[in-house]
Each structure stands twice: as C-alpha cells, then as structure tokens.
Symmetry: C2
Subunit: 278 residues, 2 copies
C-alpha cells in the first residue's frame, strides 16, 4: 500500500486526501497546531495524523496550504529531512508564482528532495463529481505517477519547475480576476444608483457572464482573505515592468476590502447579494 | 421633418446617424478638420455636413466622440451658442465618468443648453441587427423623445446627469476589463510556456469564457488606443480611495501596450491570434 503525505488539511487538502484514500493509498497529514475543526476534517477524509518524521518517509509529499505558507512548509520539511540519505519527493501544489516556486525549491538543500511544481485547477473534490486537476511540471515529474495511480486527475505539462505555477497564475488571473471585476463594478453601480440598470443590461446582453458572476461573487466572500495573497503572487509573476501587474495589485486591495467587510459584518456582501437576488 | 445633429462621425456616430436617417430624420454632422475617410463615412450614412451654426439649430445635438474630446466639444458648442435665446438640447453620449460628465455640463453657461447624460451600450448599428441602446438620464430626459421617435433604442434611467455615465463605466469596466484580463494572462502564459495548457484548460472548464475571449481579444486590437482613456475614466470614476481604481489604471497601461504593439507591427497581436486559432 502506497503511503502519501499531505501538508495542509483545508478544504482542498482534505478533499485530495479523501480521493487518494478512496483510491487505496494510506494518507498521512501533519496537524500540529491545527484547530479541532481541521483535525475533524482530516479524520473524516480518512487521513491519519503523523509526525514530520513519518511524513518525510512517505512515497510522495504534497504541500497544499495558503500561498503565504508555501516557503515555510518547505523549510520545515528541509529541517526534518536533515541528513536523511534518500531524497524525498515533494510536490508544491500551491497558488504561487514561478519565482516563489523557485524559492520553495531552494529551501531544500541539494540531495534532500525531488522537487516538483504542482498546481491545482478546479474546486475541491466533492462526492460524485469530477475532482480538480493537478498539473505537474519539473524534471522529475515522473515521480508523481503514484498520485494518478490512486485516483487523482494528474496532467503533466512540459517544462521545468515554474511551468505549472505559471499556468495556475494565468488561469487564476482570468477566473478570479473576473470575479473581482464583477464585484468592483457592481459595488460602484450600487454606490451611484446604476445598479438595477446594470443588472438588467447584463442579463440582456451578457447572460452567460451574468449567471457566472451571480454565483461566483457570493462564493468569493469566504475566500477573499486567501485571494489577497494569490493576487499579489500574480502581480509578482507578471513583474513590475508589465502594466498588468498593477491590475492584480488592485485586485489584492479589492479582495482585502471584501475580507474586511466579512470580518466586520458583511454589509457590502449583503448589498451585492440583494442585487444578485441571493 | 426633425433635424438631429451628431458631433462625431466615427463608427458609432455614423452608425447612429444612419439609424436616425433611416428613421426619417434629417441628420447633420460637423466635419471640419476631419479626414476624407470620415467625410465619406458620414455621406454613406446619410448625414449632411453642417456648420456649428446649423448644428445648434437642430432639435437635439448628440456628442459621440472619443472620451478625451468630450469637454472640448461642449466648449465649442457653448462658444457657438453664445447669446442665442432658446436653449439647445445636448446629449453627451460618451464613455466618460460622472465627474467628467459634470464638467461637460459645466462647459455651458446657464440657459445655453438642456444637458442630458447619455451612454451607449452595444456595438455600432449594423444592417439587419438590433442597434445599441442609448441610456439617458437627467432632469430634462423627456427632451430626448425625438430620438426614440426616429428609431433609436433609448432607455431612460432614473437619476440626474451622471447616472447614465455611471452605468456605462460599470458595464465597460466588466466587459472591457474581461478582455483586458484575458489579454494580460494569455500574454503571460505565452511568455512562460504555459499557453497551450492554459488554452486547453479554459476550453474544458470555462468554455463560454474561452469562446468570448477568442473573439473579444482580436476585436480589441484596433480599439485599444481608445480604451486607454476609457479605462482612465473608470479609474477616476471609482476614485483614489477605492482599491479597484488601481485595477483600471493597470488596464489603461495594458491597452496602451496593445495600442503601441499595433502601431509597431502587431507582434503581440500575432502571438495572441496564433494561440486563439485566428
């Protein structure tokens, strides 16, 4: 029985863990310092709490954490690996820029790990639905075969460490960026009395987009705090010289505003919900 | 026979002119200093070149020009109106912020004009297709009845001068912003070798959006130079205190880059077209 370890048991980490456990793997996770809710979610997904010592003994280790924690996870693993003779296979699956991905890889000392670049596209696995895709790049991408063998939808892409991260940045930039645009302009319309006209015009002239935003915007509120760092990663990925980097610094500010709104009672969210008929 | 004047005989101005002429109006336009191509386009649309003196004698005067010219048009009309006893009915139909719209209104001296706020949503009228909508706000919006009577699709919205402009800002922010997001991220994907994976992923997981961008991005190249000012108007509309204003300053920079690319031979446009299968 293959042993697979996952650092991070949030909605995505535990969903992937459940898929792998249902696919026949023994799935370890590291829960030190995590909340009772996270412990319960991990248990329900069939994941087994383990020490870092046990984690690094797994056939492959996935990191599925908020972007800001990605480098820290690699550093702790590197410390745990120490002088261990055989390299650990490590896949960073986080929404980070290629540059941050390179910093993750550089957190390991030579010989400590086969570092693969992963990125997850799609929502966390739900019972009865197709799960997300895990894109993987890197010279040793062949080392990820155990994941597909235990039920994950893995797609390898050409290119070194950084290519999978770039794909995630581009996809998230379009998809989450669209949610940001819709949020920004519906709020502006509410503030200027153009909200009902705008909603009607969108339903008439861009019905697909209207439908998409009507679900994507309310789905965003609870995730806005995570999207801040993700938008900053996209800005960093594009680089100062690309005028589009400014778009994503603005998106980070917008999602920060929505995260603060949620923390403060959700007044803006209520206004958006009323306009969207939620 | 009603006489209607249009300042600006670009694709939109001449298209609206043609609709009104076909609706039975006599349509005047002001062409001084304009290119032979514009003269020809106006003539083909059934519009008659006229002096500013004649223009201000029309039942209603529409301004349909690039955003940066909107205030200048109002100033020239004000100078032409001078001490004329009865007010001219003037509709600014441009993609400008409510604040710029107020500056347009302020360019007239008291009693010179009934100023209405207009905004056009949709593509220029095409033979055999439904034309765009002209939204109109302002206390004297009733003065626009002659437009609907001659075939324009007019929709009055509640609110003072500024409300129609706000609607246009919000709608354009979503719609053109989406084209900007797609352009920025496809270019980034091309630059980082993630382009084919991204295109395939979009076709699979967001097919509506993939189809929309595949036509909206190539349609943008020729308009990018105009969209720069429009994005800056949206940023000004949102205001410095709204983090989303930064999104649109970034969009202005991106469309500037695409306008420069077009002027310089269209290398980026060619790369995008190749990826989009155009």
């Amino acid at each position: 029985m293959a042993t697979i370890a996952i650092i991070g048991a949030g909605a995505m980490g535990s969903g992937i863990g459940r898929q792998l456990a249902e696919g026949g793997a023994s799935v370890l996770t590291y829960l030190e310092g995590r909340s009772p809710g996270t412990h319960e979610r991990a248990r329900a997904a069939g994941m087994e709490p383990a020490s870092l010592e046990d984690i690094i003994g797994a056939e492959i280790v996935l990191s599925i954490v908020p972007p800001a924690e990605a480098i820290g996870v690699a550093e702790r693993l590197s410390a745990a690996i120490g002088e261990r003779p055989s390299p650990v296979t490590f896949v960073d699956c986080n929404a980070i820029s290629p540059k941050t991905m390179n910093a993750v890889a550089a957190a390991f000392r030579p010989g400590q790990a086969n570092v693969l670049d992963g990125s997850i596209i799609g929502l966390p696995p739900q019972p009865g639905k197709a799960g997300p895709k895990l894109y993987i790049s890197g010279d040793r991408a062949d080392k990820s075969a155990v994941l597909a063998a235990h039920g994950l939808h893995v797609r390898r892409i050409e290119g070194a460490v950084g290519a999978a991260s770039a794909l995630k940045m581009c996809y998230a930039g379009i998809n989450k960026g669209m949610t940001g645009l819709g949020t920004a302009m519906l709020l502006a319309a509410i503030g200027s009395g153009a909200d009902q006209s705008l909603k009607r015009e969108m339903a008439e002239s861009v019905p697909d987009l209207d439908r998409k935003l009507s679900s994507a915007i309310p789905d965003m509120y609870a995730k806005a705090y995570r999207w801040v760092a993700e938008m900053e990663e996209i800005a960093a990925f594009l680089g100062e010289d690309d005028p589009a980097s400014q778009i994503f610094r603005g998106m980070a500010g917008l999602f920060q505003k929505m995260a603060e709104d949620r923390a403060g009672g959700g007044e803006l969210a209520d206004q958006l919900d009323a306009l969207l008929g939620r």
